[in-house]
């Protein structure tokens, strides 16, 4: 096009020349007040950066305040430690991450300035100005793409290299004293969630709200308006229109505007976490409009990372939001219409433009070209910036070397010239901010006329408008937003199975906003594609040469897009470079997967207040008052034992156990799973899920219950009591309660038997009263006939105890005469107190879990999960007696039938150590060793004060499972202890004490 014709070289000499060494005064970089600027000039904020005092205004970000003060180096790059300044100024300036006390990796470009901030750039050695690690920059020729795969792996030397690498890697510094921060999470709901409050998002929100929808509008920026407030081409009227849209939104009763809030991801069913500075809000929407805009993409030329080389939109944001002069003398690299707008925005603010460098040889006519020319701005069409040169202070750019570029994209360096400047703007293209669209399951296609991926099909309830939808021009964005807002509202009332009309028509302008190949090769490289990871143009060429010529492999090998910005300024260029290398279209190359999070989210926000359920029985305070030491049993807190002054833990446990054996004790067993089943097929159901027989269980009686999984492995046990023909009450293990209830519910969903299961675990509690005096204690509190004849072993009675309705089960896990007293949770403390009073004369002793474990071990009773494991069958565990194989069906039956034909691998046996044993005893899970092979393990072991010896349970090889067989247990230290197989129960082998044969307590010597 003639209008933009090749610049005449002599024009350059007409430009005002200023010496390059004079630094702008610190205040001089602030522009006169902008309409609707974001800073409050009445509030000065003092802070320090790298030990130097700075100031800014309230509303500034760290970067805007530093830039306004003339500070150009804001950080150092990850790999080569090159000085870096502002690039995007849009929450992906990963090279300007700050440490502020215990806060690490703060993004300077978006973090609001706070009074007294003490800031330092992350990842430097001795500061950002003289970072000693910048030595790595000199070594960069030795550090090709993936260099760490190519060296350092000599086996002997690797640990040395690794230590070195770990010393220099990483960004911010974790502060060990940082406290655990728990923030509350919020839940919210809306009809339409609009993500992005730029021109299209504002318009969409207004249209949807006008139609009647309850709208939530979120934007990560401090204020709404998006590019409508700063991408003006000098036309302040556009900003005014945008401002009015914002005002309408702010005053609309059905729109809630959330600024400084990031929509951090999209999850199934329109579930979107909104993250602000203090909270995570989980928003459930009925429809989601994604108006997230586009990221500006850098041009790739040598030293495009120098401080002062900015994306054009970054400069525009600096100007209009913060009234900061991005530079004084600019070179503007353009390849689209937006670049001319940016040039005009500079010019309007009195920034001199040394040159506009137009990558395209024949740019499309636009109104700004003439305006620029009228201001004597030279426009070099068909030119590229070949490299940027650093100033003598090495803290910024001092000139742009430009040269013509031919049709193949080869720079004609023979015709190069240097243009002095202190800033370079890059405006060569945009990539859609489609992260959330991808996460929502949208399919995008590459649209060549836009050189952009645009939505092709969208899932139900997902809509897109504005730039992410391929719509770039101001007026068209308003229109697109309005259309989509109305469509989203219509969807609310008529949720169609699919709506796949994302881009109803292509926008009216033809020049694509993205230049397909703004990549200028340079033999010395340092033309960066990914600023997070310091990846240069050649790295991609080389990676492809090594076979990583597929976008996913390229990503993994080069690490492009794997830095904290997740490729916001690099993925599109990487894709275009790969398309160039492979000769494919960008559509064929495809994109990598967009995953949450859109921007990184604090662990403390994600964690929230953290819900860790803890369960206490109704007797918790009673236990506490008695000095209980609590232990965790699943989620429950249970007394492990009751501590007594001047007594060791083991003495306390033994004392409790002896009390049960000699007099009476009681234990809180409220944590047992307690289930009730009613219905005509309740018995049938129990017959199917447990191995025993329950159809023939008499009313008022109980029976042991063993549950297997389908492979015949023991998974739970308990007691089943029949309360009526169609009514059973049963228990599970403490740890199994929730899972067993769930499993039973699942089975009955499959079987559809006529019965209902209720989990009473929390509603009811239970106390086990046990010992030779148990009946005597209970008799004082109840009229129930406790005689052997009226209430035999294993019987169940509904009774009133201490005026409290209870269910009495005469069972004996600990091997003494005893009652499991089941009672409504709220009545449990009263019952406990009554038993304590009634038992006082018998020196009733509360006992804890450890004493119970010892007592049951003396009886040889196993604990499922401790004395069984994930493969234990009833036969191995000595529980075959509890399996009624002749039943028509029970879970695990078929497996047991098959297993019955195989020899068993191991068998659970009781064992004892020699009574004279004095050395270190074995512990649970010490191995049984026979001829240097593992043949089993100890599952339980304890010293029995009653039997005056160590006893235990262990798995051994079947041939060893005969009484008096001696076997070897190996301790952790390798010592061998000899154990003797002993039949169980160790204590009261005939089970006389828990049954009728025992004498009445009054006849037992105390």
């Amino acid at each position: 096009m003639s209008e933009a014709g090749l610049h005449q070289p002599f024009a350059k000499s007409t430009l005002p020349q200023e010496p390059l060494t004079d630094r702008p005064s610190r205040r001089g970089d602030r522009l006169p007040p902008m309409p609707h600027e974001w800073i409050d000039r009445d509030r000065i904020i003092d802070f320090t950066f790298e030990g130097t005092h700075f100031w800014g205004y309230a509303g500034d970000t760290i970067s805007s305040a530093l830039w306004a003060s003339g500070q150009r180096i804001l950080g150092r790059s990850f790999k080569y430690h090159r000085p870096r300044g502002i690039l995007s100024f849009a929450n992906h300036d990963i090279n300007a991450l700050m440490q502020a006390g215990e806060k690490l990796n703060l993004r300077a470009d978006t973090t609001p300035l706070e009074p007294g901030m003490t800031l330092a750039a992350v990842n430097t050695i001795e500061g950002v100005h003289n970072d000693r690690a910048s030595l790595l920059n000199a070594f960069s020729p030795f550090l090709p793409v993936g260099f760490y795969y190519k060296a350092f792996h000599h086996k002997r030397l690797f640990p040395f290299w690794e230590r070195l690498i770990r010393r220099i890697s990483g960004l911010g510094q974790l502060v060990p004293t940082t406290p655990r921060i728990r923030t509350a999470k919020r839940y919210d709901f809306c009809d339409v969630l609009v993500i992005g409050a730029g021109v299209s998002g504002l318009s969409a929100a207004l249209a949807a709200a006008a139609a009647g929808a309850d709208v939530a509008l979120v934007d990560e920026n401090a204020q709404a308006g998006g590019s409508g407030s700063y991408q003006l081409g000098g036309e302040l009227a556009l900003a005014e229109t945008t401002h009015q849209l914002v005002q309408q939104v702010m005053h609309h009763p059905r729109i809630r505007l959330f600024t400084q809030t990031v929509a951090a991801g999209y999850y199934t069913d329109h579930w979107v976490p909104l993250v602000d500075r203090d909270h995570l809000t989980k928003m459930r929407a009925k429809a989601v409009i994604i108006a997230s805009g586009a990221y500006e993409q850098p041009a790739v030329f040598r030293n495009n990372d120098l401080p002062g080389v900015l994306l054009a939109s970054a400069a525009q944001r600096l100007i209009y939001r913060y009234a900061v002069k991005p530079m004084h003398r600019a070179v503007v690299l353009v390849a689209n219409t937006d670049g001319y707008r940016a040039a005009m925005d500079l010019l309007t603010q009195g920034i001199s433009i040394q040159a506009v460098v137009e990558l395209r040889s024949d740019p499309i006519a636009n109104p700004w070209i003439a305006q620029l020319r009228s201001h004597h701005v030279p426009i070099y069409s068909g030119y590229c910036i070949y490299e940027a040169k650093t100033n003598p202070a090495k803290d910024g750019v001092c000139s742009a070397v430009i040269c013509p570029i031919d049709a193949r994209g080869i720079p004609q360096t023979g015709f190069s010239q240097a243009i002095a400047c202190d800033g370079i703007l890059m405006s060569v293209g945009w990539a859609p901010t489609a992260n959330l669209l991808y996460q929502a399951g949208a399919k995008l296609r590459f649209e060549p006329s836009l050189q952009q991926f645009v939505p092709d099909t969208l899932p139900p309830g997902i809509f897109a408008c504005g730039r992410v939808n391929g719509v770039y021009e101001f007026a068209e964005k308003i229109h697109d937003g309005q259309n989509v807002g109305v469509t989203a509202f219509e969807y609310l009332n008529n949720p169609l199975p699919s709506n796949s009309c994302p881009l109803s028509r292509l926008p009216s302008f033809t020049p694509p906003p993205l230049h397909p190949a703004p990549f200028i090769p340079h033999p010395k490289g340092k033309n960066f594609v990914d600023f997070d990871e310091d990846l240069q143009y050649k790295d991609f060429i080389h990676a492809a040469q090594e076979g990583f010529d597929n976008i996913e492999l390229l990503k993994r090998y080069t690490t492009v897009g794997m830095g904290p910005s997740q490729g916001k300024h690099s993925n599109m260029n990487a894709l275009q470079i790969l398309a160039q290398i492979t000769g494919k279209s960008p559509g064929e190359v495809g994109t990598t997967t967009a995953r949450p999070f859109f921007h990184p989210v604090l662990l403390s926000h994600l964690a929230g207040r953290s819900f860790t359920p803890k369960r206490q029985t109704p007797l918790h305070s009673r236990h506490g008052a008695l000095g209980a030491k609590f232990m965790l049993a699943g989620q429950w807190q249970r007394p492990e034992y009751y501590a007594r002054s001047h007594s060791s833990r083991i003495d306390c446990i033994q004392r409790e156990a002896i009390a049960v054996r000699q007099r009476v004790g009681m234990i809180d067993v409220g944590t047992l799973g307690k289930l009730e089943i009613r219905g005509p097929q309740a018995a049938e159901f129990l017959e199917r899920v447990y191995t025993g027989r329950y159809a023939n269980l008499k009313g008022g009686m109980s029976r042991y219950a063993l549950m297997l999984d389908e492979t015949g492995v023991v998974i739970d046990d308990g007691v089943i009591a029949r309360l009526g023909l169609d009514h059973f009450y049963f228990t599970t293990t403490t740890s199994g309660a929730a899972q067993i209830h769930r499993e039973l519910t699942r089975w009955n969903t499959i079987w559809q038997l006529d019965c209902g299961i209720v989990n009473l675990t929390g509603a009811r509690s239970a106390i086990n009263l046990a010992g030779p005096h148990a009946r005597h204690v209970l008799a004082q509190l109840t009229d129930c006939d406790l005689s052997s004849a009226a209430f035999p072993y294993l019987a169940v009675r509904e009774a009133i105890v201490a005026q409290i309705p209870v269910l009495l089960l005469r069972v004996g896990f600990v091997g003494e005469w005893g009652y499991e007293i089941h009672v409504a949770a709220e009545s449990t403390p009263a019952l406990w107190d009554a038993l304590m009073v009634a038992g006082a004369a018998h020196d009733i002793t509360p006992f804890g879990v450890e004493a119970q474990r010892l007592l049951r071990l003396e009886k040889g009773h196993l604990i499922v999960g401790q004395d069984t494991d994930g493969l234990t069958t009833p036969r191995e565990a000595g529980l075959a007696w509890a399996v009624k194989s002749d039943k028509p069906f029970f879970i695990g039956q078929r497996s047991l039938e098959i297993l019955a034909k195989q020899p068993i691998q191991q068998k659970l046996v009781g064992f004892r150590l020699d009574p004279a044993f004095q050395a270190t005893p074995p512990q649970e899970c010490h191995l049984v060793i026979e001829q240097d092979e593992i043949v089993g393990r100890v599952t339980s072991v304890a010293y029995s004060p009653t039997l005056k010896q160590f006893i235990g349970l262990a798995y051994v090889a079947p041939e060893m499972a005969t009484p008096n067989h001696r076997f070897n247990i190996r301790l952790s230290n390798g010592e061998i202890v000899t154990a003797i197989v002993t039949s169980t129960p160790f204590y009261d082998p005939d089970n006389q004490r828990q049954k009728e044969t025992i004498a009445h307590p009054s006849q037992v010597a105390a």
Partner: protein
């Protein structure tokens, strides 16, 4: 600066060639076809070529090399399993890992960090002691350690876990390591390719022909292949491949998710695993924390991410490490895990002659990459299961010969 990097600065041309060729078409027949171009499939191809001279082999990958669970796992390598079968198998894998970088001439960043499995309950302490004793029996460095030892190795850990689940001890496994997962696939891929194996990416298997109980060929989206030997090494996709040959397995597929933090200066040396808190975490050489948790609680053949996962894992991370409050999570992702009822793999021959299975890798596949490749190569070459994998046969489920590794799963799944 290692000398071998000098050539990059002083060569006129970039001195590297393709790691793997890109064959433009499939041949009509191969001696063996390996379905799945992940670590396991490529390792099998590598050892088939290297140890048995079988080079006329095609690896078919429907996506890209190492793009499945090889590139999605949290890279933990250990051998502190519970069953003798498991311990011997994974120990052989650890042995192979030691030399892999040098064998490949590719730095896998095999980094020996030490591995703590925290016990928060007395039941967990018992299981840790069991594992330690079994491990020691087979010569594996593994021991039950007390809270003081843990605190010393990891000073920033809150051993009370915010009071929720105090750490009572840990199983310490000194050889526990991490490695750069993608590079493992590349190393095996390059090694196999250089020996003549063809790697075909973007090649999807659509059918497998079986005649008279024998494999005769494979149908793909790029044409048919005749072959008498097929190895299926496709992890979460195994049920779909098995359907093609009419075999059943007890596999159930659950998503397994993970997430990664922003890089920070290294502070966490060992690998930390907590079964009760459902957390495992290590810090990479780049300074990122790679974090994982238990399987998603329901079956699903998809790799979507969930917010619940990130929330739960974050809460437990803060329980363990309060000082991470200001650390940010960059990304979450997921793989699909092929779980077996006994948490041991399914390897070896199948009822179909010439159809070999390397599956059931659930959440423990990455660490087994070398040994699975080596033993499957043996199995294919000899048409006889390698002694180390005899007990992992598909037939064990029908025969009630399970290998109970559930107790050694890193977190309760």
């Amino acid at each position: 600066m290692p000398l071998r990097l000098l050539k990059f600065a002083f060569s006129r041309e970039y001195p590297e060639t393709r790691m793997f060729r890109q064959p433009d078409r499939l041949q009509s027949s191969y001696d063996a076809v390996i379905i799945g171009g992940g670590g396991h499939g490529l390792a099998a191809a590598y050892y088939l070529a290297r140890d048995y001279g079988m080079t006329h082999v095609a690896v078919l990958e429907k996506g890209y090399l190492g793009g499945g669970n090889t590139g999605r796992n949290t890279t933990i390598i250990r051998s502190n399993y519970l069953t003798p079968e498991g311990v011997k198998f994974y120990n052989e894998s650890m042995r192979l890992w030691q030399d892999l970088s040098q064998d490949f001439d590719l730095n896998l960043f095999y980094s020996n960090r030490g591995h703590f499995t925290l016990a928060h309950t007395d039941a967990a302490v018992r299981t840790m002691r069991w594992r330690a004793e079994v491990n020691k029996h087979y010569g594996i460095a593994s021991e039950l350690v007390d809270p003081e030892t843990i605190q010393k190795a990891c000073p920033l850990m809150d051993l009370t876990c915010a009071g929720h689940a105090p750490v009572l001890g840990a199983l310490y496994h000194a050889p526990g390591s991490i490695a750069r997962h993608d590079a493992v696939a590349w190393g095996y891929g390059r090694g196999a390719d250089r020996r003549g194996v063809e790697i075909h990416q973007q090649t999807e298997v659509l059918g497998i022909t079986v005649r008279s109980g024998k494999v005769t060929g494979v149908e793909t989206n790029r044409g048919s292949i005749s072959t008498s030997r097929v190895l299926c090494a496709v992890a979460g996709f195994t049920p779909r491949i098995l359907r093609l040959v009419g075999l059943r397995s007890p596999l159930y597929i659950h998503p397994l998710q993970a997430m990664v933090s922003e890089p920070m200066k290294p502070w966490l040396d060992p690998i930390i695993v907590s079964g009760s808190l459902h957390v495992y975490v290590s810090q990479t050489a780049r300074g990122e924390l790679v974090m994982g948790a238990s399987l998603d609680p329901y079956e699903l053949h998809a790799t979507r991410s969930t917010l619940e996962f990130a929330e739960g894992l974050a809460a437990h991370m803060l329980d363990l490490f309060p000082c991470l409050s200001h650390v940010k999570v960059v990304r979450q992702w997921a793989g699909i895990a092929d779980m077996t009822p006994d948490f041991a793999p399914i390897m070896g021959k199948t009822p179909i002659s010439g159809f070999y299975l390397d599956a059931g890798w659930g959440t423990w596949g990455f660490k087994a990459t070398p040994v699975s490749g080596k033993t499957m190569a043996y199995t294919i070459a000899h048409d006889r299961p390698h002694p180390l994998i005899e007990s992992f046969a598909l037939s064990r489920f029908a025969n009630y010969e399970l290998v109970g590794e559930k107790g050694a799963a890193s977190v309760g799944h």
